[in-house]
Symmetry: C2
Subunit: 253 residues, 2 copies
DNA sequence: GCATTGTCAAGAGCAGTGCTCTCGTTTGTG
DNA sequence: CACAAACGAGAGCACTGCTCTTGACAATGC
């Protein structure tokens, strides 16, 4: 935001350092006791300061949580972005992103719960989170855009009446996203139906990770590795990223 | 559990009544302030009693929450079961269940968050919840079983190498579920691949509902009606419930 | 019928929380 | 150097979940 001063004063450096330490300690407690158990007083105690001093850095507990949420979004976004960075076939990059995201979620369950679980206490996501939050879906879109540009996917697939044709409000919403995607790096356009399918794939991915993490697979699909593998393979086919272009996603029948 | 006495004493009736009232008031506060805001003292205050008296009915706050969780699972399970009760084509019953579940979730967001959001505070789901929790996925399985039995779905679809063939650990896990399903009402068996696909559809459904409810669709897909419609149509095709059997889920290409 | 036993609501109290306010002190700047 | 902003410390408020004790009531055995 504000331009970084050439020589930050000792006070500013101390402040930045302490802010970092507070978040670090908070993240530690988060990993131990979850969002509910995160206590400002405990964080302050652990840092050897008094609780009221902490309010100079985060005006409320929710603000601390928001900072952690943004960090988590960014961390996961970076994981996804490095996963798709490899110069491989789009399908490989897609699958890599899915596995990387799951890996991060399993390694940081409480931080995952913080951003993809039920919204914390009373609290509504502030605007500052939507940027970092969009990094993951954006990464998937980038892969699809590259696939379209590279000819790895049929570009114009507006065939008549599919089982769930994109039309009406859906088409508009998808077009808005596709437009935003084109505007930024300015290359090939992604068809509306592919955008919609990508969003569905996105929800599918996080639905499965959430179920695995939040214990909905109790006695049935645990571990969920095989199920996940199967699901993401289907998802890649669903959005149009095929290993063998024919028989995309209908082995049944 | 315990056999109901023919003539419950006045004390027993009062206790049951008060237990019901406590849960009712707790549910009301839950709808207003979320799980975090639910306070035993506030519930007691609203009921005109003192907080300590409440501990005679629920030994701890977590126990109250558990009771609410079980109730929520049961309520949603019943919604799903009545939705599939109609004697229509399996595909119609499937879609009805999806829409009914979403409708309940939108009407009871906090209760939904309680059961499908991040697991509350520190707490791990006790065994008593797994029964009610399985009613929804079970309902979907029943539809599929009926579809297989009624010939609405290809029964043996073990064609060679699909994009994500079910095999190894996945096949075992799916077979265990299919076996449990057959054991109860004892009719047609559901192929392993269909079971796996049903589970994936289940996670997809709740992934989308969660994203809609928890605000991940911020500026993009709101309202999500059209997206949901499109997604569940795909899901029905994905598990093998087709309106027009051919071109199941591959309008792309 | 009376005494015993168990259940119940009430109250006080403990340890903990988020948050606010007021103090001196420290630090950077005009 | 002086002044203002930033800071850490402490006390305090209202609230929480939870425990313990006390006295009143209802159900049961003799």
């Amino acid at each position: 935001m504000s331009p970084v001063k050439a020589s930050p004063t000792a006070r500013e450096r101390a402040r930045a350092e302490l802010t970092r330490e507070i978040k670090e300690e908070a993240r530690r407690q988060l990993a131990e006791t979850g969002a509910h158990g995160l206590s400002l007083r405990a964080v302050a105690r652990e840092l050897g300061m008094v609780s009221s001093a902490l309010y100079r850095y985060f005006p409320s507990r929710d603000d601390l949580l928001t900072a952690l949420i943004i960090d988590a979004y960014d961390a996961l976004g970076e994981v996804a972005e490095t996963a798709i960075a490899a110069s491989a076939r789009p399908r490989v990059r897609w699958l890599a992103a899915c596995h990387a995201i799951r890996g991060w979620a399993l390694a940081h369950p409480h931080e995952y719960a913080l951003i993809y679980g039920s919204p914390v206490p009373g609290y509504r996501a502030p605007q500052a989170t939507v940027g970092p939050a969009s990094r993951v879906p954006m990464a998937f879109m980038v892969v699809l855009r590259d696939a379209v540009a590279g000819g790895d996917m049929p570009a114009g697939d507006e065939d008549g009446t599919g089982p769930g044709l994109v039309g009406g409000a859906l088409a508009d919403q998808a077009a808005a996203i596709a437009a935003a995607l084109v505007a930024v790096p300015g290359l090939a356009a992604v068809p509306a139906e592919v955008v919609v399918r990508a969003v569905i794939a996105w929800t599918q991915l996080f639905g499965m990770i959430s179920f695995e993490l939040f214990g909905q697979f109790v006695g049935s699909f645990e571990p969920a590795d095989a199920l996940f593998e199967y699901a993401v393979a289907h998802l890649a086919a669903f959005v149009g990223l095929d290993s063998a272009p024919s028989r995309a996603c209908a082995p049944i029948r």
